[in-house]
Amino acid sequence: MKTICKTALAFAAAALFASAAEGGSDKKGSLKQQVVGAWTLKSNVLDQGGTKTEPYGSDAKGSVILTGNGRVALVITRADLPKFASNNRTTGTAEENKAAVAGTIAYFGTYTVNEPQKQLVMRLEGCTFPNWSGTEQKRTLELSGDEMKFINQAPSMGAGLITVTWKRVKEGQTTASAAQPK
């Protein structure tokens, strides 16, 4: 009887352990574990030699999702882009195309976290900015509770250093409502 109990206990413990492991095999408290989830854009600031600008405007909208199995998808857009008069993505005017391309970016791919260097290393598979498709992109990470910063020393608009601040989306919130008022 005692042996049966011990066996049952061992099985139950193993099942519990397996269930916990399903959440990812990353060490508790690791950066990798902390970055996993859906995040909403809080701010996006470009510093060019001390001059700070907001390349996507002061009310930019954005989302990054980092999955437990190493995939990333990011979209950032200005909130004030004019709609295309034709209502067709492929028939914008030169002005409409320019505003949309200059005011948005979206990409996806895989990622790893370099824990000692506190870096997010992304391998982009596709990007709306064609120059970034197939490239490796590194972001220095700063995490503090439900806030995450991506620091990018090679932004898509050229020179400068960009700091993207994200806020973790809580379950049941829209990404928009998770953002703090600016």
Partner: protein
């Protein structure tokens, strides 16, 4: 002693059950919503315009869709044949470069709900690289079969027609890409 063991066993069994149930999420087993959760890699994207089929992102589109258990989604599709910008800057494209980038790519994100009865996914798009899709509600008809997902859009961003996006579930360890 035996009583203590029995109580401990019962408690442990209950805890194990709770842990498993929590790990599986709170969706009903076999629901469309549960099946959609995860990351999907694009296989094809075809728009049927009155019988004429077009591939808006070319014959080998690269795309990914992530659907989270807490009701968020993000989708990006690009045509790998869009030429790079000569300036190296996203904001310094020529009119032609901007046009091909706009025609050859889209990204959007937001929240979603699923109507199980009519297999419809209701998207609340918060923002998109195509400005006309900012803050709009859209519908997709989802047909799920194992690791294959067919995603029909009756209001594609290229205007008329009916778009059918075929996705394959991304495998946890593969670095890319779905077999065509």
């Amino acid at each position: 002693m035996t009583t203590i063991i029995r109580v401990s066993l019962a408690a442990l069994a209950a805890l194990t059950l709770v842990a498993f149930a929590a790990a599986a999420g709170n969706q009903k087993s076999g629901s469309l919503k549960q099946g959609l959760i995860g990351t999907w890699t694009m296989v094809s994207d075809t728009v049927d315009q009155n019988g004429t089929k077009v591939e808006p992102f070319g014959p080998s589109p690269l795309g990914s869709m992530t659907v989270t258990s807490d009701g968020h989604f993000s989708l990006v599709i690009t045509d790998p044949n869009v030429p790079k910008f000569a300036s190296g800057s996203r904001t310094g494209g020529t009119a032609e470069e901007n046009k091909t980038a706009m025609v050859g790519g889209i990204g959007y994100f937001g929240t979603y709900t699923v109507s199980e009865a009519d297999k419809t996914v209701h998207l609340r798009i918060e923002a998109s690289t195509f400005p006309n899709w900012r803050g709009v509600d859209q519908k997709r008809i989802a047909t799920l079969s194992g690791d294959d997902l067919s995603w029909t859009n009756p209001t594609p961003s290229i205007g008329a027609g009916n778009a059918t996006l075929v996705w394959k579930r991304a495998k946890p360890t593969s670095r890319q890409t779905a077999q065509k």
